[in-house]
Symmetry: C2
Subunit: 244 residues, 2 copies
């Protein structure tokens, strides 16, 4: 039986303020939880409407709850049988942190579904890290976690002001834009930062100043633009093709 | 002043049943409406909280409404100043309709955001048509229309049972799958059907039987899969690179 205070705490984790206050976030769904545990991400506690084996919980304490209790603590319209509470770990971007390897930098991507999808893309293409500007959707929001399909636990993700980080980057900075170098002609680069902007506005002015090459995906039809996550994936695919 | 019956009719268009009953669907948002009008798609009527110029309405009758009235007829949490009503046109896929050009076929893609994004991708890559299996999200749902960013009005889209259409296709059928030919080694094809499956299940068994080549996007990291729309975009990009 959950206490009222416990329910309140768990419900507060739906909002950024609540997560910051408690230093915790939620992982909902059996598939995502198994990916999180499989990737060694530490889980503080699991709430479940069914028995959970020690392998499944990776040793985290399990609280069995009723269906109605799960509905009260879940943020999903159709709650899953499991809900896990994990501790937020924010790893600062170290100085020179963009110099080596491939980075995906998100400049004001506010839609949490897009941020989650971008983490999944970075994971698929084996990028070394993802950097989120402070005005992106919160990395630990339930929608980001869900859309990332477990990738949030496998990808090194940092929050950082982009302009100063890009200014000091030794690696070239490739900005996804509607005008620029043809993505099909990308040169091999083992070290690079790929920057994508927000859906509505594109790359911010202060970030544009630090872009060393704009990259455009060739268009064969009439759509005005591509979704930010789609554009990032196509650029990653082209860069991996020549650099891998 | 809107009548109660008019409000009820407009609200019924949020649901598939209501749209089928009236043969109408909604377009919300100034940007999407301008793209729809720009592409010559006929608009039956516009509701607006501000004056609309004849160029903007393309001659469609305009009803000025108050902010609270717009809130009652809009499906958006934050209503836009304009809402348009358009007539549903369903164009059947003609026999041999997949034989020429490039087709994107959606096999049970149920998320309306994904269907809209896929229409936008088909539009960007200049594909000749999109075919939706009957269990896809409805082409005329407000979320599909919004996510397509106007592309629904520019792309030839058909609903059709996929298995018989693919069975009679003269064009090769490329199935996006986790195992198959490397997308980076695609051969040029002027005529082809690219099939993407649903997020959870992938391609259905009956569709798989008609696939002539499975295509896989090379993976460099650890994510288990890519989002259906992302995968389709990467395959389109690779196919256009060699075929354009």
């Amino acid at each position: 039986m959950l206490t009222k205070a416990e329910v309140q705490d768990l419900r507060s984790l739906q909002e950024r303020r609540g997560r910051e206050a408690l230093g915790l976030f939620l992982v909902e769904g059996e598939k995502t939880l198994s990916e999180v545990i499989g990737s060694g991400f530490p889980v503080e506690r699991i709430y479940s409407t069914r028995p959970v084996s020690p392998e499944e919980s990776a040793g985290a304490p399990v609280t069995e709850v009723s269906g109605p209790e799960m509905a009260r603590i879940s943020g999903l319209p159709t709650p899953s049988p499991v809900l896990a509470v994990c501790r937020i770990r924010r790893v600062p971007l170290s100085p020179g942190g963009l110099d080596r390897g491939l980075t995906l930098a998100l400049d004001g991507v506010q839609d949490p579904g897009n941020v989650g999808t971008l983490l999944r893309i970075a994971d698929w293409y084996g990028l070394d890290r993802v950097v989120l500007s402070p005005d992106c959707a919160d990395l630990f929001s339930p929608k980001v976690v869900a859309a990332s399909m477990g990738s949030f636990a496998r990808v090194a993700a940092h929050s950082a002001a982009l302009a100063p980080a890009l200014a000091s980057s030794q690696a070239p900075v490739l900005g996804c834009d509607l005008k620029g170098e043809d993505a099909h002609s990308l040169h091999p680069r083992r070290d690079a930062v790929i920057v994508v902007g927000s859906e509505g506005r594109g790359l911010s002015e202060e970030v544009r100043r630090h872009v060393t090459a704009f990259v455009t995906i060739p268009r064969y039809g009439r759509a005005e633009s591509l979704n930010a996550a789609v554009a990032a994936a196509v650029v990653c695919d082209n860069l991996r093709r020549v650099s891998a």
